[in-house]
Symmetry: C2
Subunit: 200 residues, 2 copies
DNA sequence: GTCTATAGTTGGATAGAC
DNA sequence: GTCTATCCAACTATAGAC
């Protein structure tokens, strides 16, 4: 293949690793498989990355930001009440999750893998905190547009929201029941909305 | 080692596999490691199980029932209101999860692994449905003791509860924040309790 | 039933030619 | 920078002695 600067090569390899891991699972994302997917030889990967863990760390970073961008920019909340705003955001988020089943599953695989390997520890934490940040951002947006204030800390509500979404997603990955998942999310949206107070 | 009937040998090997997988993660639970943990030679495992997947299926079954037994028999709910009953049950459950971090993590590892391997597919479904059944049982118990009826199907509430617990557990595995986890569970308990109506 | 020995794969990592 | 070739470790699985 052509001679690329290392930075670009790394980016290309991370993307290839993402493709493999999303499609076939994290344990299928071997150095060999990634090299094959990228169309380069085995040696190239080891030249661009210290070891497999460094590649995996980059994959963790990539999938986190990728997931996030799907949500932030696609959320056009028109001024309604808090319950409506939350529900709308959750609806958009859910459509995105549904369309990216493999990515959602990979996200959980990265979490469990990260929890067993100290060298990857940062991946799980990074993912979770990123999700909290996004939830916080959406909740802030919702509060503004619905002209309400949250009666407990936004951080706590963000935590609550992310936990709800993770739990619902996990069940959906297993049983594929979209209706049940939506019903559960709707119920949790009700709950979050109970923390809204008229803005002061 | 002594000559055991196959059934007992299998049971022993499944327990050994559980020990290894809980301690070091599912990917560390190789046939070799299990044999070593059980103090038998490699061949014995292959003699008792068709292949590694059959062993893993048994492990999935074992951890599921094991987790469940911890909850069902330890729940002495004294007649209070619905919110109190739910909260009490969640408290007991949470203590159990806290004391068995490795088992909880393994449970998620088994789920993701199962979702990538058709031969293990039943493990994830079995686990989830078992959890739903337990939640349903606890909710029924709570309703009786608190003299209330649930205003939506118990199945739906059970699903909601399990999702909440899974989401909270996952975050706790990552960040280890026990206070935040309890706060979140408490909040979800509030929500579940809003579905209680005076019994009729 | 249990053991040792070994076949047959696969994967991470490195060396060295180009 | 990129390739091929190779080393070495670890794994699943089986064969065959005891």
């Amino acid at each position: 293949m052509s001679r690329l600067p290392v930075a670009e090569r790394r980016e290309q390899l991370v993307q290839a690793a993402l493709v493999v891991a999303i499609r076939d699972g994290i344990e299928a994302a071997t150095v060999r498989a990634v090299a094959a997917e990228a169309g380069v030889s085995l040696g190239v990967v080891h030249y661009c990355f210290e070891d497999k863990n460094e590649l995996l760390r980059e994959v963790g970073l990539a999938i986190t930001t990728q997931n996030v961008e799907r949500i932030i920019f696609d959320t056009p909340m028109e001024g309604i009440n808090a319950r409506g705003a939350i529900s709308l955001a959750l609806g958009i988020l859910w459509d995105s999750i549904r369309e990216h089943r493999g990515a959602q599953l990979l996200s959980y695989e990265l979490t469990t893998t990260s929890l067993r390997h100290p060298e990857l520890r940062a991946v799980a934490i990074g993912q979770l905190e990123h999700n909290w940040d996004v939830a916080e951002h959406v909740l802030d947006q919702a509060a503004t547009l619905a002209a309400v204030a949250w009666s407990v800390s936004v951080r706590r509500l963000a935590r609550l929201s992310v936990a709800a979404i993770d739990g619902v997603s996990l069940a959906w990955l297993v049983d594929g029941d979209d209706d049940a998942a939506r019903a559960a999310l709707s119920s949790f949206a009700d709950h979050i909305a109970t923390y809204a107070r008229p803005a002061g």
